[in-house]
Amino acid sequence: MTTTSVAPPTTPAIAAVTAEDPRETPGAARGRRSWWGLAFASPHVIGLAVFTLVPIVASMVISLNNWPLLGDKQFIGFDNYSKLLGDPIFRTALLNTLLFTVLYIPLNLIVSLGLAAWLTPKIRNRHVFRVLFFIPTVTPIVANVVVWRMLYQPGGAIDASVQTLFGFHAPNFLASTSWAMIAVVMMSVWQGFGYNMLIFSAALDSVPENLVEAAELDGAGAWRTFWSVKFPMISPSVFFATMMTLITSFQVFIQPFILTKGGPGSSTLTLVQFIYNQGFQYQQLGLASAGAWVLFIIILGVTAVQFIGQKKWVHYE
């Protein structure tokens, strides 16, 4: 997503180079400014080229080869891709990722939007709540996941509370095929809602007060005011948050990696974990790169569909 934003700074600089002529004073002045522009942009441009563009091209090349970490490489065209599509475990990983996304995004948006709507300026000490809700997002995710693993374990906090309250054991969340994905989603929602909540909260604050007052004078209740006035006004923020959350949820890795290692069976194996396993556990870099490209294309497609769909519900002033 960031690649497109970088091209503009270089273009004027190049144009200025061709126009440079020491005899023309205005041109020289323009040229001098542009050279400095290029100089200031160059750390970013070089960084982008070396650390983003080169790896992207390299992964494309690797994905067309049988490329074990140790041993001989061999060009095999699109065989890695056809192997992936025929692999039942890859399909499982794909479905698991979709399931995660379908469960995670609505929950994340409901929780974050709900809390943002509740945190109106009328709430006393709202900034304290904002900070509290934002803490899970800024603490390192690995530490969060390890703590949640302890909560989920048999004999952990959840199990112990259920037993005290109801007298029976909670399920072994992380070792049960039916609970593991739900456990991963719940943990991810807790970890991730703070960021969206902050965006929604800021957007709601900027809704003009006179519109809300006008709606109230017309007799609209809080519910109606929210959905008919506030929500359309913040819809660009909702669109942005949905899109970013969608992209990150397709890339989910750390939560299942630490909570379940993809198990039990392959019930929480996500696409990125599949790619990680192929690359760093099984040393098949070609297959791993092909998997990464499939993931990239999926994210690109879903994002494109969202951009088309936004016309129907996002209101720009």
Binding site: A39, L69, L70, N172, A175, K261, G265, Q281, Y282, Q283
Partner: protein
């Protein structure tokens, strides 16, 4: 026009900086008197202990300087693979017996160097030495060895009025202890589905193996499936907790006093003894219908093919596995030495009652844990799938067929 040199200078500086970045990670700058040694390091105390080993190698060869390249154990293997694939591997590499097979294409076969330097291999524990061989060729000199064992909580056994396990105890004794502890509201055992613990426990139970003694994969082995089913009955009967994908769950449950026993290697004995707030005992794995009663896994030092000075590196690893060095490590309670002559130093330091008897019995029945090129993959699949068998969600046979379907045929 002055801007051009400025920009060119900036570009050159940038390029140099980048080149320097890539250059510093390679083993470039190899020389006969400066060797690099890749080792897993878990902390400052660990670093200091291994530095002494490097110093010992320096002292034995004039002008030699061995430099440690440390990485945490879990990252060590990823780092090593990357280094080997990009020709930047250290000269001396540390290997685990069961993973040696993954790296043989990048390692020097030591046999000719052993002959040339007339190294006496008979002083090493023979199981440890065999573990470092792949297809009959020796790839590393072992520094430690470890028959896989069972650690138990003496206080918990005593409080429940259950007789302490004796080395060589049987699976029947094990289940009887489980029943007795359960009657007192305690759980005997916490399982671990990592490759070494799982394969060892099942080997002792009925001799089932997923990797045959010559290193061939046999992922649908019927006896191994029966072993998984037995572990499921332990859970069902309440003698064992459920398995977890977290590799340290069993050790944590043990140290926290939630279970009375779990399996681990000698390399963990000292740390666990320090962590535990109870009297820790050690015994052999419970033995069922088999004569091979545990796996022995060890680690050692090999030489990468990238190394331009194998003779110097070989002399260094001989120094690093000398009786003096291993005796020093043993006296600090680090590695249970691969040289039989200094194993007593380790027991003297461990101060665990009955440990020497346990080790003697365990080593007698121990066989090397064979490696296979797919052992990393197998280990990952065990973590994902074996918990389903142990927790009774699937049969052992079904789980093994799921695993087999994902391994290269």
């Amino acid at each position: 026009m002055k801007r051009r040199p400025l920009l060119a200078g900036a570009a050159i500086a940038m390029t140099l900086a980048l080149a320097a970045c890539s250059g510093s990670t390679s083993a470039g700058g190899q020389s006969a008197d400066a060797l690099t040694w890749g080792m897993w390091i878990s902390g400052n105390a660990d670093q200091a202990a291994w530095q002494k080993v490097a110093d010992a190698a320096d002292a034995d060869q004039d002008g030699l300087k061995v430099t440690i390249q440390g990485a945490p154990f879990a990252d060590y293997w990823t780092k090593l693979q990357t280094q080997l694939s990009s020709s930047s591997a250290p000269c001396i590499v540390t290997l685990q017996s069961l993973r040696a097979a993954n790296y043989t294409s990048q390692l020097v076969d030591l046999d000719s160097l052993v002959k040339k330097n007339s190294t006496d291999l008979s002083e090493f524990d023979q199981t440890a030495l065999t573990g470092m061989k792949v297809d009959g060729k020796l790839y590393a000199l072992p520094y430690d060895t470890g028959p896989f064992l069972m650690f138990y909580n003496r206080d918990m056994f005593k409080a429940a009025g259950v007789a302490e396990p004796k080395p060589g105890w049987t699976t029947a004794d094990f289940e009887a202890a489980g029943a007795a502890l359960k009657a007192k509201g305690k759980t005997l055992f916490a399982p671990n589905v990592g490759d070494i613990p799982l394969e060892s426990l099942i080997l002792a139970y009925n001799g089932g193996r997923v990797v045959t003694s010559d290193g061939t994969l046999d992922p649908t082995n019927a006896k191994f499936a029966a072993g998984l089913d037995w572990m499921a009955t332990l859970v069902k009967k309440g003698y064992s907790t459920e398995a977890s994908s977290d590799a340290s769950a069993d050790g944590n449950a043990f140290v926290n006093g939630q279970v009375a026993a779990y399996t681990d290697g000698p390399w963990s004995l000292i740390t666990q003894k320090e962590k535990a707030k109870f009297d820790l005992g050690v015994t052999t794995l419970p033995v069922g219908d088999t004569t091979e009663t545990t796996y022995s896994a060890g680690s050692g030092f090999g030489i990468s093919k990238e190394c331009k000075y194998p003779d110097q590196a070989y002399k260094a690893i001989v120094s690093m596995t000398s009786a003096k060095v291993l005796g020093g490590l043993a006296a600090e309670g680090r590695a249970f030495p691969s040289r039989t002559s200094v194993q007593q130093d380790w027991f003297d330091n461990a101060k665990i009652e009955g440990a020497d008897e346990t080790f003697a019995v365990a080593l007698k029945g121990a066989v090397p844990l064979p490696g296979n090129k797919n052992s990393d993959q197998l280990s990952q699949l065990f973590t994902q799938y074996a918990i389903q068998a142990v927790n009774g969600q699937e049969s052992g046979a079904k789980v093994l067929s799921d695993i087999a379907g994902q391994l290269p045929q």
